[in-house]
Symmetry: C2
Subunit: 454 residues, 2 copies
């Protein structure tokens, strides 16, 4: 039997996003002002984000309507398919049933447009003329470029300089959609010029790029800033993924015992898992949710829960998060989208309360799983996605060892068309595994002078 996809009609695209905050037994703690370290309210975010997104950021409403125009654009690639991975099951010779949701069919090739589109929409509604953002490997920057182009908003992307030089294809994708892409540090901003004065050959970092994008938005009335993960409203938008998957699992006459997704800042994981966690809250189900993170950036499995900055420079509000410290520099693994020091506030609270689990894989395990998957199922996963594949395989093997059935669902969040150089490293045996020592983590955490949480 061949692997089968389970489709929905466009009419079945969910009409609401699910806001898990309404159901959380312990609500997230407030963000703190970076200087005063006092709790801040939504108004502090007004220079950077349109009001509609700030309202979503602090909302406690369980269901939030997806605007008709956003739903209409979603229809360009949504509903995305959900597959039963019969071939992978056969390869693993497991009694487990494995399903995956495939988000790589979007125009930019990942789940990122699910939030880029509503973010561009709400900015447009409030008359914003330009949106700035940062991007590392380029998945987020290309999704936002696509979305801004649809609404006729100018898009300015600060791309970490070393990625800008090494990964020209993602930049060209952004250009094709009309975005302006600058290697960061750039001479467009005070922050960038300062860095360039000190080190003209700086390769850049995500922290510097954030500083540049934020500065541009803060200094210009008609310009706002946009973030591709971590924040509550970003997680909210991604729940379209799990909402659809829930309907598709119902069509398959099945319900997962465990849902799995890659973990960078949290929106990928939240997108798939929160609508299933809702069944735990609402219907007393006992569905496990596992976040798959890289062993080289293990904030969930080896970090601490405390207040920390979202950026490396220390400009953003302090957020209560699992973190490795905002100065932590992860090894240069290929899964660029997972190289972030902290976890979003909601996901951190859920982990603290043991309502979700986390698992780490080194990149050799991840690519090994990715190649197995590509040969069995025919789709080449993005390096980020291979982490979820690795966890799914581990769960399927555990089911086999226990001699029990288990229904597994994971998020195949994107294709690897722009990441084949990483696969080449894998095939040629060049792939490095960096064993992160406890000393390295402790050293990064020791630098933190941010508030601890009891």
């Amino acid at each position: 039997m061949r692997s089968h996809k389970i489709l929905l009609t466009e009419q079945e695209i969910p009409e609401k996003w699910y806001n898990i905050v309404a159901d959380m037994p312990v609500k997230p703690m407030p963000p703190l002002h970076p200087g005063t370290k006092e709790p801040i309210g939504p108004e502090a975010l007004a220079p950077l984000f349109p009001m509609a997104l700030i309202e979503q950021e602090v909302s406690a409403e369980k269901w939030i309507d997806i605007p008709e125009e956003v739903r209409d654009i979603y229809k360009q690639w949504r509903p995305t398919p959900l597959f039963r991975a019969h071939n992978l099951e056969k390869l693993l010779d497991t009694p487990a049933k494995i399903y995956y949701k495939y988000e790589g069919v979007s125009p930019s090739g990942s789940h990122k447009p699910n939030t880029a589109v509503p973010q561009a929409y709400y900015n447009k509604q409030e008359g914003v003329k330009r949106i700035t953002t940062e991007t590392g490997a380029g998945q987020w920057g290309s999704a936002l470029s696509y979305a801004c182009n649809l609404f006729g908003i100018d898009c300015e992307v600060y791309m970490v300089k070393i990625s800008y030089e090494q990964k020209p294809y993602r930049k060209l994708m952004m250009n094709t959609w009309g975005a302006h892409v600058f290697p960061s540090p750039s001479d467009k901003t005070e922050a960038g010029r300062k860095i360039l004065a000190q080190s003209p050959n700086s390769p850049g970092s995500l922290g510097i790029a954030i500083s540049e994008a934020v500065e541009r938005a803060a200094m210009n009335e008609d310009t706002k800033y946009s973030l591709g993960s971590v924040l509550n409203h970003v997680l909210l938008h991604q729940t379209i993924v799990g909402q659809e998957a829930l309907l598709q699992m119902e069509k398959a006459g099945d319900l997962p015992d465990v849902v799995i997704a890659p973990f960078g800042g949290g929106s990928n994981f939240a997108g798939l898992s929160f609508p299933f966690l809702r069944l735990n809250f609402d219907e007393g189900k006992n569905i496990r949710a596992i976040a798959s993170e890289p062993a080289s950036c293990p904030k969930l499995t080896r970090g601490v829960f405390r207040y920390d900055f979202g950026d490396t420079v220390g400009m953003t509000p302090l957020l209560p998060m699992y973190t490795l410290g905002h100065n932590f520099v992860p090894a240069p693994i290929h899964a660029g989208g997972l190289r972030y020091h902290g976890a979003g506030v909601i996901v951190s609270q859920l982990l603290k309360d043991k309502l979700i689990e986390a698992r780490a894989h080194n990149q050799l395990e991840a690519f090994d799983a990715g190649v197995k998957f590509a040969r069995a199922e025919g789709i080449i996963p993005a390096p980020e996605a291979t982490h979820a594949v690795a966890t799914a395989i581990a769960e399927a093997e555990a089911a086999k060892e226990a001699g029990e059935s288990r229904t597994i669902l994971f998020n195949l969040c994107g294709h690897g068309h722009f990441d084949l150089a990483a696969y080449e490293d894998y095939f040629s045996g060049k792939l490095q595994v960096h064993e992160l020592t406890q000393d390295e983590i402790s050293a990064s955490l020791a630098e933190l002078d941010t508030p601890e949480i009891a």
Copy 2:
């Protein structure tokens, strides 16, 4: 109004391929033996292809069943979406309605798996252990690698050496699916060794790669050869595209006045257009079909109709085709899939009988259309596909000038994720337009000593 997609259910995937030969008023002339120049029968193909494909190659049956197992694999990505391009229409301010069928959702990103899968299937049925093929830019090689991997058949791809070196991503995609990829000329074959002895630094050519792949198949009992276009059975398999599109247009309550597809060897064009041409034969409709070819390789618009070889070396049977001469070397445009000197037999006969049309675009026109399309519709087309976009835009503009409505459907046969360097050349103004002179064409044709057709 946003661009909308028209979907089918999996149950609606057509159960038969359409064989236009049954309806052609003038049937194709027979192939000739390359040495004797006498007509040859199907048995001459037996060393290279399995019997089931040879039967399809010479079949006059109007409908040919799609095997259940092939249809089952098609379901991994089929039915593919058909879109109404509202945004492009708006951009062009045209009274025309523009639809496109999108084949880029397949695992290898183009329409090529539509034939790679049944070819691998029929080879497997007949116990074939290894399939060889050639590839230029790599679209076909990656589709066949994907299909062979599904059936556990060893896949050997001879990739033109200069592409092998310049386009590593396609090669890596093939490796990920387990194929063996050799830069051609290689030392695996007599043909390759001969070339290497003469010119050790040969960059290779599609002609040499065909010779190598054919030799490997001819010399080994358990090995067959596979071709990605030109031949009748390949065109047949691609009609799944048009069969689906016909159902989708019916769902949209519409019927195209004109259908358009890129033209390399003919299978892309045949796939979309033949099921619509059937309505002309069966129901007296008057649907126009336009083949979009590159101005630098204009066999349909500027070639001659005569017998010619399928390869450059002169090993294959002589086929009655529109050709620029088998030694014609097209300019190195980015649309590698369209750089072929001749047109398939069926399509050539249809053009001869004025049942289809052709139109040529230079690559600046093509990329200009491609970028317009990407910005309007959000999908970045493969360079091959941009040629169909250019024809569609020309038809929409003609409708506007004439002040009349017109319903246009074209095949967006693949995405451009591996071709962004070509877009970079376009953006940076580096894109070359080679004006092909009549002298160049005449010189190539003057070399031909193959039989002319009255």
